[in-house]
Amino acid sequence: MEILGPVLVSGLTTGALYALATLGLSLVWGVLGMLNMAHGAMLTLGGYAAYAVVTAAGWPAPAGVLAAVLAGAAAGVLIHVMIARPLVRRSPETFETSVMIATFGAAIALQNTILAVAGGQPLGQPLSLSGTARLGPLVAPWQNLLIIGVSIVLMSAVALYLARTRGGRAIRAVSQNREAAALMGVPAEAVYLRVLALSGALAGACGLLVSSLTQLSPTLGSEPMLKAFIMCVVAGLGNIPGAIVASFALAMIEALVQYHFGARWGFPVLLGIVILVLIWRPTGLFGRATVQRL
């Protein structure tokens, strides 16, 4: 019972981070049909933006949070304007492949820019809470509770936006039937821009949270993005509620495996689960033959 507490806290924390990383990735896939390979680099950018504003410029913490979110959103906008839009205009037939390669290139460029500017040595993220909370037998660091809370708030906000607002409805309409949405008067490119900006903002926030647990490094976002891909595939690409459930479930399994068999077994077990899921249900756990869209 004593060991269950820390495993639970660790599983929930990584689950929240995976879910947040997955949400942005899945949203872009569902609406634009594009795998954004630069998603991890947008996470990294968010972490460094907060560091730059708080440590280097000496501004207060809220400015650091804002900087992470805005830097991520700006990266999303640039990816739309400079990569996605020109590629889909030039050749919609090959878009799915070409955009993967192009965003992969953007990720390498962004990662190396960060390396050149900030250096390769790990930096401490100043934005984090210290101390632990006690609730009966459970002990949890405040920072972990903050991460879980912030992730749940952000995911609920996105869910409400998609379900209840005119703009969110337009996003779902484009993902469910692009042509019909255009006939209703929805400008598809404006929706794509909004989705990439939203995904970037979520990535920026997620990067800040990840770096508060570990440290800042130019490859900060790589592992969360890899995990986000795994969640998307396990849940079925484009299925957002499924991806969030998968994130928490697999993070729990990972935490248990890491506790019982050692940290190095966590990732192989996750990959093993992916392979089993793909053999058993090629469209993902919650996927149907036709992908359930937003």
Partner: protein
């Protein structure tokens, strides 16, 4: 006073193949104009070229006097054209109510949206019953009604309706044509595509017979059924 919709010299098609060759006709305000012709002769392509889903290669598409040929579909929708497409193209994972709200996407005034919704529910009471149901779970006839209702929600001044009878049982086709007759009686401007010329007799003001991407005959529907061109178009030659 310009026509609600006028098409002149319209040429359009898909990569490397023209489906429409120099089509010209007009839809005056308040009229119900029908394009008839067998399947595969360009009726759907014509509506898609008018609403901007495909870009015409040549010709004009004027909406109340303004040329919209080649404009993006969301701009043509904003100019007042509502296209009820073939196969309905509903948003499958949205409820009927949300589909209707998407129809009114360009309107931001909630009072106006609820006024239009009341109108649609009065015309298509079945949609009020199915309001909370996902579009993917509707029957064929209900889907068609939802598509028409969604088109009406835009408040557009011109309604393009692509083969509303397609794939439906005869009794449902009658209901759908009852709805179209009611819209005509209410003074709506409608461009209707239909495969079966007998179905629009007594309903359409003007019929254009489309054959191999060109209009081969135009006139009143009751005259069409007696014409030799009809036989030639449908039976070959």
């Amino acid at each position: 006073m310009p026509d609600a919709l006028a098409v002149s010299g319209l040429t359009a098609g898909y990569t490397g193949r023209d489906v429409l060759r120099g089509i010209s006709f007009a839809v005056p305000e308040g009229a119900l104009v029908t394009i008839v012709g067998p399947n595969g002769h360009g009726k759907t392509t014509l509506l898609r070229a008018i609403s901007g889903l495909i870009r015409p290669r040549a010709g004009l598409v004027t909406v109340f006097g303004a040329d919209m040929a080649g404009a993006a579909p969301h701009r043509i929708a904003a100019a007042g054209v509502a296209h009820v497409p073939q196969g309905d193209m509903l948003f499958p994972q949205m409820s009927v109510g949300e589909n209707l709200l998407m129809g009114a996407y360009l309107t931001t005034d909630p009072a106006e949206i609820s006024r239009r919704q009341d109108e649609v529910f009065a015309l298509l009471p079945k949609l009020a019953e199915r309001r909370a149901q996902l579009a993917v779970s509707l029957s064929g006839g209900e889907r068609r009604m939802c598509g028409i209702g969604r088109g009406l929600m835009s408040g557009a001044r011109i309604l393009l309706v692509d083969e509303p009878s397609l794939g439906l049982a005869p009794i449902i086709i009658e209901q759908i044509y009852g709805v179209i007759a009611a819209l005509k009686a209410a003074g709506r401007t409608i461009l209707l595509v239909e495969e079966n010329p007998a179905r629009v007799e007594g309903l359409a003001d003007t019929v254009h017979l489309l054959d191999h991407g060109g209009i081969v005959w135009s006139g009143a529907p009751q005259d069409l059924l007696a014409r030799a061109e009809l036989m030639e178009t449908y039976l070959g030659g």
